[in-house]
């Protein structure tokens, strides 16, 4: 009770605050750490639901390190660094209020859209135009940021929309979605593009749009979808075929995708009930599973900890998602609520698509497993999204005591 009161007090003081003097501005640069220490950490500790989320993230990251380690010891150091940097991003992004950040949603959206367009002209990495090569061998994937800025601008728009139950009001969010999603499709990153409608739908449902409208749009999309098959790239068609024919073609020569799915299933299946332990199976250690540390890290976990471990990972995502929904329910501010739902859906959606892909339920689309896959861009984006969710949780105007009034 006391904690929540204090956090509310601090939150209300910060944005407006007593007018910032010249001296305060000068000190801003070196008081960042100070502010994290004095404001953010106590507020975070005071937020019960944040504990749950942070616990889930810590466990997921530990599982990630254990899995990355057997894929290649040299990757471990990098991944440790990515997690630390991600943690720092998480803390720093907690300093300004989400409302203040939300004010710049338009700017973020425009910048990320320009970056998405720009990456098409960047040199190809791994045969795709998805990454910017940065000095020092780093790579940056703008679509990771685009997901977040899309959730932010949509939440911003829906907040002010009074009559969302009218069909015409749905038009603009879909336009907002089509632009970055289209650019990502041109990058032929099917997995990331598929996240956008998921995020939008979750937010529209939460915002109160008529279900029959959403259903109608979904049906139209499903009806149109097969028509887009000829527009897929050859290798994407192969992936669809790989999924469909995999069961029959066990003895024939496998394509790369069929091979990937097969190896993934072998890794998972050979884990059995309890798994082979920290060292995983020979198959993983000898690098027979392509992209093991990356998109297929769930299979590595499966080989290490078996069905029990896989179930635990899924449970952690459910805990994470559940905590986010609780934050959304508790939030009195509709921007914060919609932002949390959008970002939480983004993370859980990514997890579902990725895991479904590794168990052979969906075609192979390049999509990472949040908090687990090896890679800096993805880890930073996941941490940033989490930070925004915690930001909302931390700055709820209502404490748990008067929750009932807000329902």
């Amino acid at each position: 009770m006391k904690d929540s009161q204090r956090s509310t007090m601090m939150a209300s003081r910060r944005p407006g605050g007593p007018s910032m003097g010249q001296s305060a501005r000068d000190r801003a640069s070196f008081t960042l750490l100070d502010r994290i220490y004095r404001q953010v950490v106590p507020q975070l500790i005071a937020t019960r639901v944040a504990w749950l989320m942070l616990l889930a993230i810590v466990l997921l990251c530990s599982a990630s390190l254990a899995a990355v380690n057997i894929c290649g010891a040299e990757l471990l150091e990098h991944q440790e660094m990515y997690i630390l940097v991600g943690g720092a991003i998480l803390l720093v992004a907690l300093v300004p209020s989400y409302r203040k950040i939300g004010n710049y949603a338009n700017v973020f959206y425009i910048i990320t859209t320009i970056l998405l367009a720009g990456v098409l002209f960047a040199p190809a990495v791994k045969g795709s135009h998805r990454w910017f090569s940065l000095p020092g061998g780093l790579e940056f994937q703008p679509s990771e940021l685009a997901k977040i800025s899309f959730a932010m601008i949509t939440a911003r728009y829906l907040r002010s929309q009074r009559d969302i139950r009218r069909f015409s009001a749905l038009l603009f969010p879909f336009v907002l979605m089509i632009i970055p999603m289209g650019l990502i499709l041109v990058e032929s990153d099917l997995g990331t593009a598929a996240l956008f409608p998921l995020v939008l739908y979750a937010m529209l449902i939460a915002a109160g749009a008529r279900l029959r409208h959403l259903l109608a749009i979904a049906l139209i999309a499903v009806a149109v979808a097969p028509g887009s098959y000829p527009m897929l790239k050859d290798y994407q068609k192969q992936r669809v075929i790989a999924l469909l024919v995999h069961q029959q073609s066990a003895k024939q020569q496998l394509t790369v995708d069929e091979y990937q799915i097969q190896q993934s299933k072998i890794a998972l299946g050979s884990g059995g009930m309890l798994g082979e332990g920290l060292d995983g199976t020979d198959q993983i250690r000898h690098g027979l599973l392509p992209e093991a540390s990356n998109d297929f890290i769930f299979s590595v976990v499966g080989s290490q900890w078996g069905f029990v471990g896989c179930a635990a990972i899924i449970l952690l995502y459910i805990i994470f998602f559940g905590a986010c929904l609780e934050i959304a329910v508790d939030s009195a501010d509709s921007f914060g609520r919609l932002l949390v739902i959008g970002l939480a859906t983004m993370i859980i959606g990514q997890a579902i698509i990725n895991i479904a892909m590794t168990v052979g339920l969906l075609p192979v689309v390049g999509i990472t497993l949040p908090f687990m896959s090896y890679g800096g861009s993805a880890m930073a984006a996941d941490m940033l999204a989490t930070s925004l969710i915690l930001n909302v949780a931390m700055r709820q105007r209502s404490g748990p005591a008067n929750r009932s009034e807000n329902r």
Binding site: G127, K265, I266, G269, G271, A311, I314, L325
Partner: protein, 690 residues
């Protein structure tokens, strides 16, 4: 309201996760064992243990072909290409080997210098190899190129196969890069690209030892134990033994090696065809090496190693070396006779101008039809065969031809005893049938069907005398009386016109006319049997066929297929229906050929009684040399006979190709020399000079 909506979102997510959970349960609980097996299959590798090819020995146990151990000089493929990553690994390895206590940082500090050194050593490698092995730098560089080209072809093949299975993007290429990719197949990484490649086969032991001791300045150079085939008797029976080379498509396809499906502990049940071939294996390509390939080719071994490098002893199968193949020939005897024939100073065994004959001799034992000797000259040294192949292939004397089994010649008068046997069995003549033999067959036609004594003639003679004097008109008449069909059938029953089944791949079937085809050709039906009566016209036979036929004649009609390779299979035999009462008179005629006052082979009158029949077949040959084609008319001289005359033990057939002389003067001396050598090797009872 909001809560209800969020429950909806939650339901969707939960449903998706539930499906995933069910799938996981299926994979990890229900089908776990199946996937474990698959995982094992992926985690283990087969390594083949090479086997040793069997030896070929003669009837006395002398080695004719044997595998000798040797060392090959090989270089790690990455070292050959100065692969950057490999150089780093090698540098780290060397630094650690030099000083085991170096820390990671110290190694990193020393690394650039060491890398530089290794790169320099690799640059100097071709020159170093050339100096070590005493060959030219160019040949080392050429071998480098051969290896690179082979690897590039392999990579392109693999790339094409992979590309045909999926789009370009999965190979790390966009459509734009595709054309470039097709050329270099850069992303294809193959196992042989991380294995040593042979640069110089069969290096001397000193070089091998030196490299083992002083490997330092030669990073990536490896001494690989191997074997190579040695022919201790060099050129003796070279055409019979044949040679080995890369496995031919025919053998390969019939007997490809297939890797067994591998789950540790179950190899016993599922071991693949370990006797099969892999690309690059050696196999017989001619002669006994090919004929007895099944016996000579051993069974490879296999060991199962998991990817950590640990071997599973239970799944090891040791290789079985190839069997030793025993030939029936006596290489010592053959060597002696070959030396006699190739010696230009032997005036009776060479042509008038001292040229060595193109000749073939074969000796068949009467008792079991074993081939005691199968000789063809000129011959060649098997140990240098592959180096000299070009010269051998373009030699107009065809040294690679096994004339004794693979050379078909018109048999000439040597056919006459067989024709006599057929005719007496058929009843068209008997031994006392007198035929008046003028200088030519048809009165008033002196230009056709002449006797070889033209214009003299033989007068009225009986059958043994006709054999003794090799009377052509007598056998023209017999051939005419028999007719084409009966004569051809008779000769076929003696094994002419078909391979004898000795098993050599080069064996010729000779030639006999196809009576059904000639049925409507009146001229052929009338004249062919006349010519064939004296072994000319549409007929040819190999020395081996003639020896086998004579052996059958001497056995009273029991034809036994000759045997060269022991244990290759049973010897087929059959009984030819002959009038056995008349055989004594035929043998009498053949005795008179050597011992009669007007016999044609007086050269064979020696310490032991020999009998047989000479033959001189007029023939012509096209010779192309330096782009000019000339037609050469000459004789193929024959002698087919047996010793001892009264109690035959061996049949000897000899043919001398394309000389001006007659069988009695070219082939008979060779048979005489052969008998002398056989006596020397105790094959015939020693008889004092009479």
């Amino acid at each position: 309201m909001l809560k209800r909506r969020l429950v909806l979102v939650l339901i969707f997510s939960a449903a998706a996760l539930l499906i995933i959970g069910a799938r996981l349960a299926e994979l990890q609980l229900a089908e776990a064992q199946q996937f474990r097996n698959q995982a094992l299959n992926f985690s283990y590798r087969h390594f083949m243990i090479p086997t040793v090819r069997g030896s070929i020995v003669d009837c006395k146990g002398r080695y004719l072909a044997v595998e000798e151990p040797c060392y090959n000089l090989a270089i790690q493929y990455e070292a050959m290409n100065e692969d950057d990553e490999w150089i780093t690994q090698e540098a780290v390895r060397e630094l650690k080997a030099e000083n085991g206590t170096l820390t990671r940082k110290q190694i990193l500090a020393l690394l650039p210098q060491k890398r530089e050194l290794i790169a320099q050593e690799l640059d100097a490698m071709p020159a170093a190899i050339a100096q070590l092995c005493g060959i030219s730098v160019e040949s080392v560089n050429a071998q480098y190129d051969v290896i690179r080209q082979r690897m590039q072809l392999l990579r392109e093949d693999v790339w094409t196969i992979r590309y045909s299975h999926q789009g370009p993007s999965d190979l790390g290429a966009t459509a734009d890069d595709l054309d470039m990719e097709l050329g270099v197949a850069e992303n294809v990484d193959l196992a042989p690209m991380h294995e040593p490649q042979t640069i110089v086969p069969h290096i001397s032991d000193q070089v091998a030892l030196y490299l083992r001791k002083h490997g330092g300045p030669f990073p990536g150079l490896v001494v690989v134990p191997s074997t190579y085939r040695v022919y201790p008797m060099n050129s003796v029976a070279a055409q019979v033994i044949g040679s080995v080379g890369p496995v031919s498509a025919k053998i390969f396809e019939a007997n490809t090696f297939e890797l067994p499906e591998l789950i540790p502990g179950t190899l016993t049940d599922t071991v693949g065809n370990l006797k099969g071939y892999l690309p690059g294996d050696l196999a017989g390509i001619s002669g006994v090496e090919l004929a007895a390939e099944n016996m000579l080719h051993g069974v490879r071994g296999v060991r199962v190693v998991n990817l950590d490098g640990q071997e599973l002893p239970a799944d090891r199968r040791n290789p079985t070396p190839g069997q030793t193949v025993h030939l029936t020939i006596d290489a010592g005897l053959q060597s002696d006779l070959q030396n006699d024939l190739l010696n230009p100073n032997n005036q009776f065994l060479t042509s008038a101008d001292g040229q060595v004959h193109n000749a073939a001799v074969t000796v068949l034992s009467l008792a079991d039809s074993h081939v005691l000797l199968m000789l063809s000259v000129p011959t060649y040294d098997l140990n240098t065969f592959h180096d000299q192949f070009g010269a051998l292939a373009s030699d107009n004397n065809f040294p690679m031809l096994n004339r004794a089994a693979g050379g078909a010649f018109p048999p000439g008068s040597t056919i006459k005893p067989l024709v006599a046997a057929i005719a007496t069995t058929d009843g068209v003549i008997s031994h006392d049938t007198i035929i008046d033999c003028g200088p030519y067959l048809f009165p008033g036609h002196p230009d056709s069907f002449r006797d070889w004594t033209y214009p003299l003639g033989h007068g009225a003679i009986d059958m043994p005398t006709a054999i003794e004097q090799s009377c052509d008109v007598y056998f023209y008449t017999v051939g005419m009386r028999l007719g084409l069909a009966r004569l051809t059938d008779g000769l076929r029953s003696f094994g002419l016109g078909a391979t004898t089944g000795v098993g050599l791949p080069e064996e010729s079937a000779g030639f006999l006319p196809n009576v059904d085809v000639l049925e409507n050709n009146a001229l052929a039906v009338r004249t062919d049997p006349i010519f064939m009566g004296i072994g000319q016209g549409p007929i040819s036979a190999t020395p081996l066929q003639m020896a086998t036929a004579y052996a059958a004649l001497l056995r009273g009609g029991l034809w036994i297929a000759p045997q060269l390779i022991q244990g290759l299979g049973p010897q087929p035999q059959r009984q030819i229906q002959l009038n056995t009462d008349e055989l004594a008179y035929i043998r009498q005629g053949m005795y008179l050929v050597v011992h009669g006052s007007s016999g044609t082979a007086h050269a064979l009158q020696m310490n032991i009684a020999v009998a047989g029949k000479t033959g001189t077949a007029q023939t012509s040959e096209r010779i192309t040399q330096d782009g000019k084609t000339t037609v050469l008319h000459a004789n193929d001289g024959w002698f087919v006979g047996y010793v001892p005359a009264d109690n035959p033990q061996y049949v000897i057939a000899a043919v001398v190709e394309m000389t001006g002389g007659e069988g009695g003067s070219t082939a008979a001396p060779i048979v005489r020399q052969c008998i002398i050598d056989m006596e020397k090797h105790n094959y015939l009872p020693q008889v004092d000079e009479q």
